[in-house]
C-alpha cells in the first residue's frame, strides 16, 4: 500500500539511519537496502538471544509499555531496551498466573510492537501535500511551518464557515491511552483544543456498534449492559449470536481467556450461531448453527414461536418488567394486536405466523434444529444469551440487536447470575477520571458514518432524513477535518471509491490534517501530515480493557527517545493552541508528565487504593478484582423495578417502543428501510432475498483478522505472513466457479473490485463469502484493490435508525482472477 514517493523518502532515511546507527555488522549493505520490502526491521537486527551471547553488549533495561489499540482488550508490554533500541517485547510476567489474579498476556500483535515502532512506513517529519489529494506526494516542512499552516487554515475556515465546518473524524488508533486517547474524539486532546477555539461538529455512534447502541437504547434505555463474561461460570447454557472473542478479543487477560476459564468452571454447553465456523467454536462448541447473514431476527422469531406455543416463556417476568409482550402490557396508543405475541403468532399486521418453517426458509437453518434450540433455551436456566457486534452491523441491525435481546427477555434471563440481557458481555472497570477536554459550545451532531455526505451535501442533511441531531438541518458542509490516529478517512470507512471521489475535490473539504505514526491509506489523503509518537516514545496510562471480573491500569512509560522528528499529540496541540491564542488555557502550565501526575493524584483522592505515581511506574500493571463479585446487568431493576426503573420512557424493558413508533411515523426513509416499534425481522437491500442476487449471488461479510486490530498492525510484514489476507469461500461455491484453495480471485460489485487469494474452506456457509476488514487499501492503476480491503465493496448507504454502517450487508460476485 505504500506509495512510491513515500517509499523513496524512507529509503533515503534508512540509509542515513543505517550508517548512523552502524548496524552493518549484522548483514551486508545489499541486504539492508532491501529492508523496506523484505525485512521489517530497518534499524536493529541483532536479536535478543544473539545479544545475550554478546559479552560486550550494553546493559539491558526493561520498561513497561502498552498496546493501546482498539481490540477491546488492552495489554501491558515489557520492552527490553539496549543502547536506546527495543530488542524484544515481553508481556505481563508478574505473579503466579492464577485465574482471578492472572497475567494479562499480550497477543501476537502486541508481541510484534517492535516491528510497528521501527516500521519503514513511519512518518518521520511534518509534510505538506504537493500533488493531487490522495496521490501521496508530499514535501517535508518544518514543524513551525506546519503549525502555522494549520492555524492559518483553521482560523480562515472558522471565520468563513463557522465552527460547525470543523470535524473530528472517528479514530481508535490509540483509544486505550489517556493523554493520547483518540476515541471517543470528544475525549481527545484535539477536542480540548477545539473546545477552546469555539467548538466543532460532533458525531454520535461508532463503526463498531452503531446499530446495537441505537436499537437497545429503546429496549433497555441507554447503552445496554451485559453480565460479566466471568459470570459464564454460573450458567448452564451459553448461546452466542455472532460473538467471536477468539478472533476479536484475544488478549490473555481478555474475553476469550475469561470465556475459557468460566466454561471450565460451569461446564456450560455452548451454542455458536455464526455464518463462519469461528475460532471461538473450533471444537469448543457443543453446537454450531450456521446462519445466513442478516437473518438473526428471523431465527429469534422462529424460536419465539416455539417458546410461546410450548408455554416456555417467562410470563410473570414479561408481565412485571416489560412493555408490549402481549395485550396486557401493550401501551394505550399502540394499535390493537400491535404486541409481540401477535406478531409471532401471525395475528399482527402482516398476518404471518413466524413458525420454525418460516424462519427456516429465511435463515437456512433446518426447522427441527430451530425447534430443538428453542426447547433447550426455554428449559435451561440460567441461560447466558449474548450477541457480538457482527449481527447488528447490518442494514437491519437495529432490529437484529433488539431481537436477540428479545430471546433473553422472553426467557426471563435478564438481571440474574448466569443469565444475560442478550447484549454483549460486560465486565468490571476501575473508575478513572480522564484528561478534561472541556465543553463543546456546538450542539450539532451527525452520525459518525455520514461525514462523507456532510462534506458533499452538508446543508441538505436534515434531522428526520439523515439523523442530524441538535439542529433541524446542517447549515454548513464539513470544510476542515482533524484525523487523529484514524484510518477511517479512507480505509475503515465504507465505499472507498466514493470517499476517494469526495475527498479528491479540493473545493469541498478544504483542509485535512492527519496525525499518525504511519503512511496509512488515510494519511495519503492528508493536506498536512503530522508525525506522531508511538506509545513506546512517550509516557501515558493505558486502560479501558474489557476484562471480566479483573481489570487493570497500565503505566505505559517512555521506552525510547522519539524517533526522527516525531512529536507527541500533546506537544502538537499545545503548539497549535499557542498559535490560536489559547496556549495557556490548553496546557494549564503542565507538561505531559505533569498532567499524568496530576490526573493520578486527583484520582487517588477519590480512590486511595490506587498506587502513587512512582509505585505505579515500578509495578507497571495495577490489577483489581471486582469487589462486588460477578457483574450482573440490571440486577437492581430485577430486584425492584419500581425503585430502580430503567431509563426508557416507561422505566421498563420496552418490547414495544412508543418512541420508535413515533420515529417510524415521522422520519423520511428510503425504500426498504424499516423502523418498527417491535423487534421484527425485515428484509433489506442486498440481503439474502434481494433481487440483486441475480447479478451478485454471494453475501459478503467481514470479520476480524487475528494479525490486525482493524487496520492497526496491517503494515507489519511478519504479521501479514502469519495470517494471510484471504477471502473465505465454501468449496461448493468455489467449485462452481473453478476456484481452488489459494487461487487469486476477483471480488466485485457496482462499487468496486478487489483481487485477493481465496481460502476454500468448509468453515463458511454456502452462499456466503467473508473477507477480514482492515487490510491496507492498495489500488492498482485501474483502481482494483490488491490488498483485500473490504471497504472497496461496502456501501455508504446508512442503516435506517442509527444511520450506521451496514458493513456486513453486501452482495458480490467472485471470479477466478
Amino acid at each position: 500500500m505504500e506509495n512510491e514517493s513515500s517509499n523513496s523518502l524512507f529509503h533515503k532515511a534508512f540509509n542515513l539511519d543505517i550508517s548512523r546507527r552502524d548496524v552493518l555488522k549484522t548483514g551486508s549493505a545489499g541486504t539492508l537496502a532491501l529492508a523496506a520490502g523484505s525485512i521489517p526491521l530497518p534499524f536493529v537486527s541483532t536479536g535478543a538471544s544473539a545479544q545475550t551471547a554478546s559479552a560486550t553488549a550494553a546493559e539491558e533495561r526493561v520498561v513497561w509499555s502498552a498496546c493501546t489499540v482498539n481490540c477491546g482488550s488492552r495489554c501491558p508490554l515489557r520492552m527490553h531496551v539496549r543502547d536506546g533500541e527495543i530488542t524484544w517485547v515481553e508481556t505481563d510476567n508478574t505473579g503466579l498466573d492464577e485465574y482471578g489474579n492472572h497475567q494479562v498476556r499480550a497477543c501476537l500483535r502486541g508481541r510484534s510492537m517492535r516491528r510497528r515502532v521501527y516500521n519503514p512506513d513511519r512518518l518521520k517529519y511534518p509534510m505538506k501535500r504537493v500533488g493531487a489529494r490522495g496521490e501521496g506526494k508530499f514535501a517535508r516542512i518544518s514543524w513551525d511551518e506546519a503549525y502555522q499552516l494549520l492555524a492559518d487554515n483553521l482560523k480562515r475556515i472558522i471565520a468563513e464557515y463557522g465552527n460547525e465546518a470543523v470535524y473530528l473524524n472517528y479514530g481508535t488508533g490509540t483509544l486505550g491511552g489517556t493523554v493520547t486517547k483518540s476515541w471517543p474524539p470528544a475525549s481527545s486532546l484535539v477536542a480540548r483544543l477545539m473546545n477552546l477555539c469555539g467548538g466543532y461538529l460532533n458525531h454520535y455512534g461508532d463503526y463498531s456498534t452503531a446499530q446495537i447502541a441505537a436499537g437497545l437504547n429503546y429496549t433497555y434505555g441507554g447503552w445496554a449492559a451485559g453480565n460479566s463474561v466471568s459470570d459464564i461460570a454460573n450458567t448452564r447454557l451459553l448461546v452466542m449470536f455472532g460473538n467471536n472473542p477468539a478472533e476479536t478479543r484475544m488478549s490473555g487477560g481478555g474475553i476469550v481467556y475469561h470465556l475459557e476459564e468460566a466454561r471450565q468452571r460451569s461446564d456450560a454447553r455452548m451454542i455458536v450461531i455464526d455464518p463462519r465456523y469461528s475460532d471461538t467454536a473450533g471444537g469448543r462448541e457443543d453446537e454450531w448453527v450456521p446462519i445466513r447473514p442478516g437473518t438473526d431476527a428471523a431465527l429469534v422469531a422462529g424460536l419465539a414461536h416455539v417458546l410461546i406455543s410450548e408455554n416456555l416463556v417467562d410470563q410473570p417476568f414479561l408481565d412485571r418488567y416489560c412493555v408490549g409482550y402481549d395485550e396486557r402490557t401493550l401501551p394505550e396508543g399502540a394499535p390493537a394486536n400491535g404486541h409481540y405475541k401477535a406478531y409471532i403468532l401471525g395475528d399482527g399486521p402482516d398476518g404471518i405466523a413466524k413458525t420454525p418453517a418460516w424462519a427456516s426458509r429465511i435463515t437456512g437453518i433446518p426447522s427441527r434444529r430451530i425447534v430443538q434450540l428453542a426447547r433447550e433455551i426455554g428449559s435451561t436456566k440460567p441461560c447466558y444469551i449474548v450477541q457480538g457486534w457482527g449481527p447488528q452491523r447490518h442494514a437491519n441491525g437495529e432490529l437484529i440487536s433488539r431481537a436477540i435481546a428479545m430471546l433473553a427477555i422472553l426467557t426471563g434471563n435478564v438481571g440474574i447470575n448466569g443469565g444475560n440481557s442478550g447484549a454483549r458481555e460486560g465486565g468490571y472497570s476501575i473508575p478513572f477520571e480522564r484528561f478534561p477536554t472541556l465543553e463543546n459550545p456546538v450542539d450539532t451532531s451527525i452520525s459518525m458514518f455520514t461525514w462523507t455526505d456532510a462534506i458533499a451535501r452538508g446543508p441538505e442533511m436534515t434531522a428526520t432524513r439523515d439523523g442530524v441531531r441538535g439542529k433541524d438541518k446542517l447549515d454548513v458542509p464539513i470544510k476542515f477535518i482533524w484525523n487523529y490516529a484514524s484510518n477511517c478517512l479512507v480505509n475503515q470507512h465504507s465505499e472507498i471509491n466514493r470517499t476517494h471521489e469526495i475527498l479528491s475535490d479540493e473545493d469541498l473539504c478544504e483542509m485535512i490534517v492527519v496525525i499518525d505514526n504511519h503512511m496509512t491509506s488515510s494519511a495519503r489523503y492528508a493536506d498536512l501530515l503530522l508525525p506522531d509518537l508511538t506509545t513506546s516514545e512517550q509516557m501515558d496510562f493505558a486502560m479501558d480493557a474489557n476484562a471480566g471480573n479483573m481489570n487493570y491500569l497500565i503505566f505505559a512509560d517512555q521506552v525510547i527517545e522519539p524517533l526522527f522528528e516525531c512529536k507527541s499529540v500533546y506537544e502538537m496541540c499545545s503548539e497549535i493552541a499557542a498559535r490560536m491564542g489559547v496556549g495557556e488555557a490548553f496546557t494549564e502550565g503542565r507538561t505531559q508528565e505533569e498532567w499524568l501526575r496530576h490526573l493520578l493524584a486527583q484520582n487517588r483522592r477519590r480512590d486511595p487504593d490506587l498506587p502513587d505515581f512512582e509505585a505505579f511506574r515500578e509495578m507497571g500493571i495495577y490489577k483489581r478484582q471486582n469487589p462486588n463479585g460477578f457483574f450482573v446487568a440490571y440486577r437492581d431493576f430485577r430486584a425492584d423495578p419500581e425503585a430502580n426503573p430503567l431509563t426508557t420512557s416507561s422505566g421498563k424493558i420496552e418490547i414495544y417502543s412508543e418512541a420508535l413508533a413515533k420515529i417510524a411515523a415521522e422520519w423520511e426513509l428510503e425504500e426498504s428501510d424499516v423502523i418498527d416499534p417491535l423487534p421484527i425481522h425485515a428484509s433489506t437491500f442486498e440481503g439474502w432475498d434481494s433481487p440483486d442476487r441475480a447479478r451478485y449471488p454471494l453475501q459478503l461479510i467481514g470479520f476480524h483478522c487475528k494479525s490486525r486490530t482493524h487496520s492497526t498492525y496491517g503494515n507489519v510484514a511478519l504479521l501479514k505472513a502469519a495470517v494471510r489476507q484471504e477471502m473465505w469461500i465454501n468449496p461448493i461455491d468455489a467449485q462452481s466457479r473453478g476456484i481452488v484453495n489459494g487461487d487469486s480471485v476477483e471480488i466485485f460489485n457496482d462499487r468496486g473490485r478487489v483481487h485477493i487469494a481465496a481460502k476454500v474452506t468448509p468453515r463458511i456457509l454456502p452462499g456466503v463469502v467473508a473477507l477480514s476488514e482492515g487490510a491496507w487499501y492498495a489500488p492498482n492503476r485501474h483502481g482494483t484493490d490488491q490488498a483485500g480491503s473490504i471497504n472497496v465493496l461496502t456501501t455508504q448507504r446508512p442503516s435506517p435508525l442509527a444511520k450506521g454502517n451496514p458493513s456486513h450487508t453486501n452482495l458480490v460476485e467472485v471470479n477466478k482472477a
Binding site: S112, S360, S367
Partner: protein, 205 residues
C-alpha cells in the same frame, strides 16, 4: 539425561499464533522463518436440504515447534556434526558456527523444524530456549500463550500430567522419531493418516 518437551493443548488452542510471533520477536526471525508453526487442519462437507444447509465439518489447530525427538531424524544426516542433541536437557540444537547450511536436516525432519536462513547463512531452528530453561524460565512461546495451551517440562512430568498422545493429523506417526511432545487433542481431532481433512493454511506454515 532429562528430556524436556512441549505440551500442546489443541482443545484450548484458537490458532492465534501468539506463540509463533513472540518467538519471532525474541529470536529476531525473518518473515519466512517460523520456529513455531500453527497447522490448521479442516475438512468435512455440507448437505443441502431444501432451503437449508446441514454442515458436517471440523477444524482445529496444532502449534508445533521442534519436537526435540528421542531419535531426531535431523542429527544423523548432518555431515558437519552441527546438529546435535544436548545431553543435559535433550534439546536438539544446531551449532551455527559449524553448520554449513546444506539443508540435509531440513529434508530429513518430518516436522519441518530446521529452516535455512539466507540472511544468516546457516540452518536455524527452535532450541527450546535452552538458555532461558537453564535460568528456570520456560520458553518464550510457552509463557506467551494467551490461553495457557502450551507447557514445557521434563517429559516424565508431562506424561504424568497429560498422558502419552504424541500424534494427531496432520502430524506424521510418532513412531518415526519419538517426538518429545504430549498433545491434548481437540474434540475435532483426527488420527494420523486421516484423509477426511487437509492442511488448510499451507502458506502460513
Amino acid at each position: 539425561m532429562t528430556q524436556y518437551g512441549f505440551y500442546i493443548d489443541s482443545s484450548k488452542c484458537t490458532g492465534c499464533k501468539t506463540c509463533q510471533l513472540s518467538c519471532k520477536d525474541y529470536k529476531d526471525l525473518d518473515v519466512d522463518i517460523n520456529y513455531r508453526r500453527i497447522y490448521e487442519y479442516a475438512g468435512g462437507s455440507w448437505q443441502a436440504d431444501g432451503d437449508t444447509w446441514q454442515p458436517s465439518i471440523f477444524s482445529y489447530y496444532l502449534s508445533i515447534a521442534c519436537n526435540h525427538c528421542a531419535a531426531p531424524a535431523c542429527v544423523p544426516v548432518c555431515p558437519s556434526g552441527a546438529m546435535h542433541k544436548r545431553s543435559e536437557d535433550g534439546l536438539v540444537v544446531v551449532d551455527t558456527d559449524t553448520c554449513i547450511g546444506c539443508k540435509s536436516c531440513a529434508m530429513a525432519c518430518p516436522y519441518g523444524a530446521p529452516q535455512y536462513s539466507a540472511r544468516k547463512g546457516h540452518m536455524t531452528k527452535c532450541d527450546g530456549c535452552y538458555e532461558r530453561v537453564a535460568e528456570g524460565l520456560k520458553p518464550v512461546c510457552v509463557e506467551s500463550c494467551p490461553l495457557r495451551a502450551l507447557d514445557f517440562a521434563p517429559m516424565e512430568e508431562l506424561h504424568e500430567r497429560y498422558g502419552n498422545l504424541a500424534e494427531v493429523a496432520p502430524l506424521p506417526s510418532a513412531s518415526l522419531t519419538g517426538p518429545s511432545i504430549v498433545i491434548k487433542p481437540n474434540r475435532n481431532a483426527r488420527p494420523v493418516g486421516d484423509t477426511t481433512g487437509s492442511l488448510a493454511n499451507p502458506k502460513e506454515v
